[in-house]
């Protein structure tokens, strides 16, 4: 698993990258009440706002971590946004991306580096 400084996790699954938010982020957001997912088959650039998460406190965005195509989104989050709090690093993934070169993931933090970030 790799991590972004925006508190997303990235997991390689075959040739796809699965994206979600970390336990730390889920706790900071508080109870999630609404998730707006992107359309599948959307080309995105790193830094694009691709999802909206509304918690009881505020709205936050999920940014595309890298350039690529969103190929699948987790519809279960639309019906049950609370999954983000229950299982942020498992069943509450947000989307899967196809990217040109999985090697770009090496630029992101590993678990130790991320744990140091959130201290």
């Amino acid at each position: 698993m790799k991590y972004t400084k925006e508190h997303e996790w990235l997991r390689v699954e075959g040739e796809l990258v699965v994206v979600g938010i970390t336990q730390h982020a889920a706790e900071a957001l508080g109870d999630v009440v609404f998730v707006e997912l992107p359309e599948p088959e959307t080309q995105v650039a790193a830094g694009d706002e691709v999802c909206v998460i509304e918690s009881v406190k505020a709205a936050s965005d999920i940014l595309a971590p890298v350039d690529g195509e969103i190929v699948e989104v987790n519809e279960a989050l639309s019906d049950n946004p609370g999954l983000v709090n229950e299982d942020p690093t498992g069943t509450a993934w947000f989307f899967k991306m196809k990217i040109d070169d999985l090697a770009v993931l090496n630029d992101f933090m590993d678990e130790d580096e991320y744990n140091e970030l959130i201290g």
Binding site: D31, E54, V56, A59, S60, L63
Partner: protein, 381 residues
């Protein structure tokens, strides 16, 4: 992920119970010049639901507590206080509390408050962000008749929910006999408690002013009871929104009149046209005119379709694109299990059931004008 708000914690005042909040796992955030617990370990959703199901303890010591001590008769003080509000102060019986609001010359709202007749004086509770201005305002206008005394050595706790009575009655049994908006000064092992049967959640419950020296022990004693949990500001906000209650600085301020805000119930007959003490408060011309002719716009309840909340600042439109106004408070209602909001729209669009549009992240989404409260209140009348 991006978003969220920071805030400087330096320069902030600390509550008398600060260490208790930290020990309870409270997440402290800046609010109205204080470090306040926005939530504890349960989180906003569970804290909200616990308050509706059992009892929640809130520390609202940031609010201003003020005594109005007559220099002459109680009646002179009550009448002078009426000079600041479109409210019948004189008619409040001893041992009773009433909602009030300070108005300005333009008929806007300077603050909203609770005041109680305590026999030989009045006790007033005002919003934290306004308290210095409110005390100055009262001193400027009441000093001929009244000593205005800010109470700075007492904490203020709120115990809210269906089991609040059972919990508090273990400490002060006589609270069980109080009705909604009754007040009492009762001795206890924690010092004299100034209790009102009221709150800001739509639930039955109490607000308890306690000497700071006894506040920590009282809070601990209540929290040790099985039905009581500590509740933060986050749930306080969602609870009051479900109850349709205004938050000063958001739903009401100097740009809104009491009539626009739908607070006409707070303007009793003696202060209205034809009443025994008609007018005689700041902004009376506008407020009496709006009472007679109706205001140009009204605060309404709003229910967005779907699950996306419409938060404060969301712009409201008709279906043909005419701008109407804004959402002033909005979020997700944990008990109604849906997004809810309130905001201002022209009177012609304020009918319950009217469908409008709210713009969320560039998209116009349907939202329906709805009755408030969103969640039925359970006051013990």
């Amino acid at each position: 992920m991006s978003g969220g708000k920071g805030g400087r914690v330096s320069d902030l005042k600390r509550l008398a119970l600060h260490d208790l909040h930290v020990a309870l796992g409270g997440k402290m955030v800046p609010f109205a010049g204080y470090e306040m617990p926005v939530q504890y370990g349960l989180g906003v959703m569970k804290e909200h639901l616990h308050t509706r199901a059992a009892a929640g303890l809130f520390d609202v010591s940031h609010m201003g507590q003020v005594i109005l001590r007559p220099k002459g008769s109680y009646q002179d003080t009550a009448l002078a206080f009426e000079g600041l509000m479109p409210v019948d102060v004189l008619g409040v019986a001893e041992g009773r509390q009433r909602y009030g609001l300070f108005t300005d010359q333009a008929g806007g709202i300077l603050d909203d408050l609770m005041f109680a007749n305590r026999g030989d004086h009045l006790f007033v509770v005002v919003n934290a962000a306004c308290k210095e201005a409110d005390v100055a305002h009262m001193q400027a206008h009441l000093s001929d008749t009244t000593g205005v005394i800010a109470v700075t050595d007492r904490a203020l706790l709120a115990l809210q929910g269906p089991q609040a009575e059972a919990a508090l009655a273990r400490i002060v049994p006589s609270v069980a006999a109080m009705r909604f908006m009754d007040v009492a000064q009762l001795p206890s092992g924690y010092g004299e408690l100034w209790i009102s049967r009221s709150g800001y959640t739509g639930e039955d419950g109490f607000e308890i002013s306690v000497p700071e020296a006894g506040a920590g022990a009282l809070a601990r004693a209540l929290l040790d009871m099985a039905e009581v949990e500590a509740i933060g500001l986050g749930a306080r906000d969602s609870l009051r929104l479900e109850a349709g209650l205004c938050l000063y600085g958001h739903d009401i301020d100097t740009t809104t009149s009491p009539v626009e805000a739908g607070l006409t119930w707070a303007i009793q007959k003696p202060r209205r046209a034809g009443g025994a003490r008609e007018g005689g408060f700041p902004g009376a011309a506008r407020i009496l005119r709006e009472l007679a002719d109706g205001p140009a716009r009204l605060r309404v309840g709003l229910r967005p379709e779907g699950r996306a909340p419409m938060r404060e600042g969301t712009e409201l439109f008709t279906h043909d694109g005419t701008a109407l106004g804004q959402v002033t408070s909005g979020g997700f209602g944990p008990s109604v299990e849906a997004p809810i909001a309130m905001g201002y729209v022209p009177r012609g669009q304020a009918e319950i059931g009217t469908t409008l549009q709210g713009e969320v992240r560039g998209k116009r989404l349907p939202v329906t004008v709805a009755a408030m409260p969103f969640q039925p209140t359970t006051y013990k009348r």
